[in-house]
Symmetry: C3
Subunit: 256 residues, 3 copies
């Protein structure tokens, strides 16, 4: 389509479709069966030229319109983005990340497999996010402990943690595996595995396994009731990981 | 214009203008006198193919640049959007919705007439929003009571309610007609009509009619001083609705 | 490039580059050495036709993709924007503003020199922002003291103030020079120079000079350790301004 500008040096897999008004730079490798939405920019030049490398985009990606993906990242298969997202350079991303509208992953992040982010999620530079993590709308992962400064104390989020709407993850926080940061909470320091964090002071309010929806008798941790939302081939992986986290949480609680 | 891609199957009214780089799908009906901004996508395919239907866009709409409107919604006349907005499928929207930049209406929402949303407002799936409602910047309407889960407990907002900056509307909240959710507040449960909700615990702080700006002697509820911001032909409707809500609020207060 | 639509009436300096799919209106003056990113709109018509004037964009600007700059603003040299930003009409902006992704400057704002805003910052109409100010992600500058109303009580932020993630600046707040609004705080009223504001009630928690990062022995105010992040030619200006603010803060503290 004339409206698109696809650099002939780009390596494009089979069965890849491009929307209207797409720009693809030469420094890009796109896997098979990807769909690139309208007015997207794929392989945007890095703001840090010394870190420029190809953008590798795994097979089966769905990139919705007005997305910007920088060069120099390595993204696993089955990425799915909403509209108006940004993924900056040097980010290493696992399988089947799903990103909501207006989400922003800054440079040099490490993101695991099957991570889900809703809208307006902001992942600051150098953050580490485990597998099966949920970041709901307006979550912010900071990294500067005395802003503005040259210090950097990025956030680490363990596997299967859930971060709810409008939560703030303070610089240097380590969110334990399977923990639950409530909406509007501010998390800082070392959060043990499998706990609930609430409020602007980030109080640890108890174990995640106490959380329950009364009408439906649905309980946390979520793998008990939500594993079926993932592909069948990873159900065993979810079960093993959830058991591992429950044991870890029980051990941590006993040591208190 | 060559830069635009307008499907010839789209039904376009009279006196409709298209910006630079616009994509219009075939499944779209655009009323008379609409203006479609640059780099917009009108009639984006639904993520849920079984719910795909035409996008009906009422007469007199102004869609600003980089907007994305899905197929399968029905939007009344005189829509006005900021830049970079998203409206998902199966949303039923009344007359003269105004949406700020970066706002996002998810699928299957019901939005009344003359609703105003400022920037970064996020209306989660299945929400119901009444007539003359205000959602200020960064308001989030949630729907999952035990995230992530298969449960859905969407938000309902009554007519003429005001939701201020950065307020969180928790899953299942019913905001009473004419109530006022203060900035940064977290609202949950059943909010009576005509009250003020404040703080992270969503405390009910008193009746809206106590709110007043001392210098200007301007009082709430806002129809007392702000009706002139709407078209003359709906002034009677505003007056009647405001009186109805005041009576409802007085009755609710007496029953306490 | 055919994909772009550059009005021949626009005044374009030397060595200006345009990305793919750019729209430039005729009412625009672009200085030398500017780079305009893909799918941007430069000189968007004003929503308030009576205030329409040229957009003047100073030399050396880098505008990243999907940006929208309205006509009728005057922007100093070396602007640098992220992706998906909006700058509305009648805004007067100094030298080397840096804007993060999804930031939004509404109309009739006054912004000083060397201001930095991170992502999703929202600067409401008529705000005044001093020199060397930092606005981190999700900061909101309000202006309506009884929303919705016809009243306007915009925010004023003094030189070298820092506003952290998710802070709310309430209508009419005057943030003193060099003060620090902590993340999640809500600031209102008159904030003295050189103090820390914390929490949803906007408590003044003490002087900024008490802030320190223990491991690195890095102290606030930030010009002590962060001046090197600005061009050498403004180091003297930073030093003088910082000294002036420290004297002002000491005098204010003594008067308490």
């Amino acid at each position: 389509m004339e409206s698109s500008l696809i650099d002939p040096a780009a390596k494009i897999g089979r069965n890849v479709t491009f929307g209207h008004g797409v720009r693809v730079y030469g420094n890009v490798e796109i896997g098979d069966d990807c769909r690139i939405g309208d007015f997207s920019v794929i392989g945007h030049p890095s703001a840090q030229p010394d870190t420029a490398q190809p953008l590798r985009l795994g097979a089966g990606a769905t990139i919705r319109s007005h997305a910007v993906l920088y060069e120099g990242s390595d993204i696993g298969p089955a990425l799915e983005t909403g509209h108006h997202v940004v993924i900056r350079e040097q980010s290493m991303i696992g399988e089947n990340l799903r990103l909501g509208n207006f989400s922003d992953i800054e440079g040099a992040c490490r993101i695991g497999d099957f991570v889900r982010m809703h809208g307006y999620a902001h992942v600051g530079r150098n953050a580490t996010v485990g597998d099966f993590v949920w970041l709901f709308s307006l979550t912010t992962l900071m990294n500067d402990p005395l802003p503005p400064s040259h210090l950097s104390d990025p956030v680490t989020i363990g596997d299967m943690a859930t971060v709810c709407v409008n939560a703030q993850l303070m610089p240097g926080v380590h969110v334990g595996r399977g923990s639950f940061i409530a909406s509007g909470a501010s998390a800082h320091g070392i959060i043990p595995p499998g706990v609930i964090v609430t409020g602007p002071d980030g109080e640890i309010a108890g174990p995640v396994r106490f959380m329950m929806h009364m009408q439906s008798r649905t309980r946390h941790p979520w793998p008990r009731h939500f594993t079926d939302a993932y592909p069948t081939r990873v159900h065993d992986r979810i079960t093993r990981l959830a058991a591992e986290i429950e044991a870890e949480a029980a051990a941590a609680a006993q040591n208190d």
